[in-house]
Amino acid sequence: MTHLGERLADFVFGELPANEMEEARRHLAQCGECGGQVREFERTRSLLKTSPDMDPPRQIVFEVERRTSVWRWLVPVGVAAAVLLAVLIAFPMQVQWNDSQLTIAFGNARTPAATEINGTPEYQRIAQDIRQLQAQLDYLDAQQRDVVKHNYQLASDLQRLSPRTGGEE
């Protein structure tokens, strides 16, 4: 085998193929010149290796900013809107404002059972108001009928009296 030459670094750093490594070792055993070069190379490498790695003075931590772009929200908001629309179409929404209480219900309005509301004070009060209004309405209706009847009577009397009055004129 010839001198190591350009293969010296490959040999020192173990990058020669296995068969060439073995061949190089055999050569080094009998070539003082190559042996000296290898020893010098190894010595320099050892000197360099006395300088250990250092820890970085501070740690790098990545905190990627969360994007607040409108586009980021466009898809989820669009999907939510579509779902809401589908729900409203399939199940109509009922909104009621009763006695300072907002009630939102989806689907067909459920008619409360009479037993559920009959006993409430509010129901009783309203029912009383309705009965009073109904009584007033009945009274006014009767009054109106009397007035109409009286008017018809007056009109009839006028017709009966008018020929005699006209003949006298």
């Binding site: 670094a9 750093f13 320099t44 360099l48 006395t50 501070r58 990545f62």
Partner: protein
Amino acid sequence: MKLGLRPIDDRRNVERVLKGDTEAFNLLVRQWEKPIYNFIFRLIGDREEAMDLCQESFMKAYRELPTLKDRDRFSSWLYRIAHNTCYSRLRKDIGKTFVELDPDTGSSRSSIENRLAVEKALQHLPEEQREAVVLKVFHELKFEEIAQIQGAPISTVKSRLYMGFEKLRSILG
């Protein structure tokens, strides 16, 4: 740290990052910040500057990660980014003079003195030689990987290493 020591982990973390998991990038940072920092420090010779360039390298890596074609070669790609970042910085420092070595280069130095002597000796090498020596000796990269990082033929990398060693031998004794 030797390149490709944990290529499977690197690949898995790279894929997680590409799917939007930022925390996985922090795992890559934890894995590689020390070797990359030391690589940059030995090229630049200034600790704070090396830290800034290290951070800059990782930021570039994060931004350019979608362009990484071979996900099994994340580490050599990262070294390449650090190389480019350092060389951009070094270009601005043309003409900068480094502190001369102490005349005492004997073998009875303490470990701290040794480290300082090596750091100073490295700064006396031309950039390409220094980088070839650092990547080969401290990071144990293969010549092929160094050639990729330096963008040079393997034969050129070896020449740089030989010339660098020759000069270091004369400085360190």
